[in-house]
């Protein structure tokens, strides 16, 4: 904006207008999009991983069953933040290790040399010559995988429980109609399990929302990063000098998260009313009474 050309002459309302529209402020606003993108991209991956985990736990093939049990149980005893710190760096080293073996087979020196992890230049992920945005997308993707792995395990627990909660009589009826186990699973059990899974999944969504500030720890420039960056005291050397405003910036983040969880709860109450309509559960019965 034209009037913002010389910030030192600004006062009052105009100062605020100009301050709140600086390039850095706009990056702060955009970082809310990063958080929402993470939520939008993680949720489907979490559901798929959760479904796979639940299927693995039901599997009669023992190694697969054990794998499912270990996967779903690991998150119970270990804080999620440890996974968030471990998974991205472990994945990164794993990928570089494999690329090194494939792309530079003639390098004989070991990859781990004391406290260093040395791979050839061609195996670097992303390549040293890649533009900045590739590095950012790569970092964000690793963060996304870490989130998906942790929350996939929670979703697997929820979906496994929900599958077991479908009334036995429903499945027996399907069997009596001559359906194969596969048909019973896909046509009867899976469609009916969602209503049992919903409370757990809605909780999971809330936890996922509340876990998004941890993106900051993974080096992603998210809302916490910008709140710290912009909130810190700015001396008169800056265009818009101000004292330490971090408390207000973090206050804004707190309100953002409260609105997110509050709004989500409203939506889930709606969905749950919709889904339990006509189901043989207390909710469904209560619903029938209200509409009758």
């Amino acid at each position: 904006m034209e009037m913002c050309a010389d910030p030192s002459t600004l006062e009052g309302f105009n100062w605020w207008i100009c301050y709140l529209t600086t390039g850095k402020q706009q990056m702060f606003y955009a970082s809310f999009g990063t958080v929402l993108a993470l939520l939008a991209l993680t949720a489907p991956v979490v559901l798929v991983l959760g479904f796979a985990g639940a299927m693995a736990r039901r599997s009669r093939f023992l190694p697969l069953n054990w794998l499912g049990a270990i996967y779903t149980n690991a998150v119970r005893g270990i804080p999620d933040i440890i996974f968030f710190l471990f998974v991205p760096i472990a994945m990164d080293q794993g990928i570089e290790y494999l690329r090194h073996k494939i792309k530079c087979p003639d390098v004989t020196e070991p990859i781990r040399q004391g406290n260093d992890f040395v791979v050839c230049a061609a195996a670097k992920m992303p390549l040293g010559t890649s533009p900045q945005w590739v590095h950012e997308v790569y970092g964000f993707t690793l963060a996304l995988v870490a989130f998906a792995i942790v929350f996939g395990a929670f979703a697997a627990n929820t979906l496994y429980g929900a599958m077991k909660a479908v009334p036995r009589a429903q499945l027996e009826t399907a069997e009596a109609y001559g359906m194969t186990p596969r048909q019973v699973f896909w046509r009867i059990e899976v469609p009916q399990m969602w209503v049992y899974a919903l409370p757990g999944l809605s909780n999971l969504w809330m936890i996922l929302i509340k876990a998004t500030p941890l993106l900051f720890l993974l080096g992603v420039e998210d809302i916490v990063y910008w709140a710290k960056e912009l909130g810190g005291a700015k001396t008169s050397r800056f265009d818009y000098p101000h004292p330490d405003w971090r408390v207000y910036y973090f206050g804004v983040l707190l309100i953002f998260y409260l609105l997110m969880t509050w709004g989500s709860e409203k939506v889930f109450t709606r969905i749950s009313r919709r889904l339990s309509h006509g189901q043989a559960t207390l909710g469904g019965a209560a619903d029938a009474q209200v509409t009758a």
Binding site: P79, I81, I82, N115
Partner: protein, 281 residues
């Protein structure tokens, strides 16, 4: 210069409290170094969890009673308290609290204990041992308050009628009838809360609160080693193992309490512990 593992324990066993060797190992990091220092950091996690749970338990009881109160002057603040602390990430709460504590003027407040006077310094609030503990206490009070409130509403009507028939009222009825029933019903969920409160302590030194003189919790040292050795495959599994062991210890301890709370209940109706992830921060 290499040390035996016994020497390592002697110099680093209490390093997280600032006792022992000042400098952290930088080169030639052994497996023993990692086990000892990460274990040393675990003292902080246990300290945070024990204090938060011990104080939060009592505040949570008040919060639950407040939310259940017919008086809006009591129920509205209780509801708002629960909403704010359960609806926002603990990570943000740490940051915000730290910034607020930094802004509080640095003064000493004399507290007269009758036999002696101690001076409480407000600058302690910016230190993790006090500031982070306060945030964790408030946080667990909100989560536990909601659990207790749910349990309070499920106390069997018959129990209340029996109490009335015995002529109990007021605090006696609460102390003898409502509170034990509430605890019994809440206990499986409360066990989950205790587990995830313990897990949440790993966030302290990664949020606003700085580690003073490199005295941090288990995760602080685990990530220190992962950075220094550039190898995440040793220190993170070690801390994971420590946390799994502590989680099992919590389940065992709370299981004893659960059996005691349920000893008069027929087997089929006993409340059982089930894993519920909704108490994750």
């Amino acid at each position: 210069m290499s040390m035996t593992c016994i020497e390592t324990i002697q110099s680093y066993g209490l390093r997280s409290l600032g006792i022992g060797e000042r400098l952290l190992p930088k080169t030639d990091i052994t497996l023993c170094d990692q086990f000892v220092l990460i274990g040393s950091g675990l003292i902080w996690n246990i300290y945070f969890a024990v204090f938060a749970l011990a104080v939060g338990f009592w505040i949570a009881t008040l919060v639950a009673l407040g939310k259940a109160s017919p008086n809006p002057l009591l129920s509205a603040p209780a509801k708002a308290f629960i909403f704010v602390f359960r609806g926002s990430p603990l990570f943000i709460q740490f940051f915000l609290a730290y910034e607020i504590f930094v802004l509080i003027p640095k003064v000493g407040i004399d507290i007269n204990l009758g036999f002696t006077t101690i001076t409480a310094e407000t600058r302690w609030l910016t230190k993790a041992w006090l500031g982070a503990t306060i945030v964790l206490i408030l946080n667990t009070s909100a989560y536990t308050g909601e659990i207790f409130y749910g349990a309070l509403r499920s106390v069997p009507k018959g129990d209340m009628e029996a109490a009335d028939a015995f002529g109990m009222s007021g605090f006696r009825k609460f102390r003898r009838i409502i509170w034990p029933s509430m605890l019994r019903l809440a206990w499986p969920s409360y066990t989950n809360e205790a587990i995830f409160m313990f897990h949440a302590t790993a966030l302290v030194f990664f949020s606003g609160f700085p580690a003073w003189r490199q005295s941090g919790d288990a995760l602080y040292y685990a990530s220190y080693f992962a950075d220094k050795t550039f190898n995440p495959f040793v220190s993170y599994p070690i801390i994971a193992a420590y946390f799994v062991l502590c989680t099992l210890a919590i389940i065992t301890l709370f299981g004893w309490a659960n059996r005691r709370l349920n000893r008069h209940i027929p087997v089929a109706e006993k409340a059982k512990f089930r894993f519920k992830p909704q108490f994750i921060r």
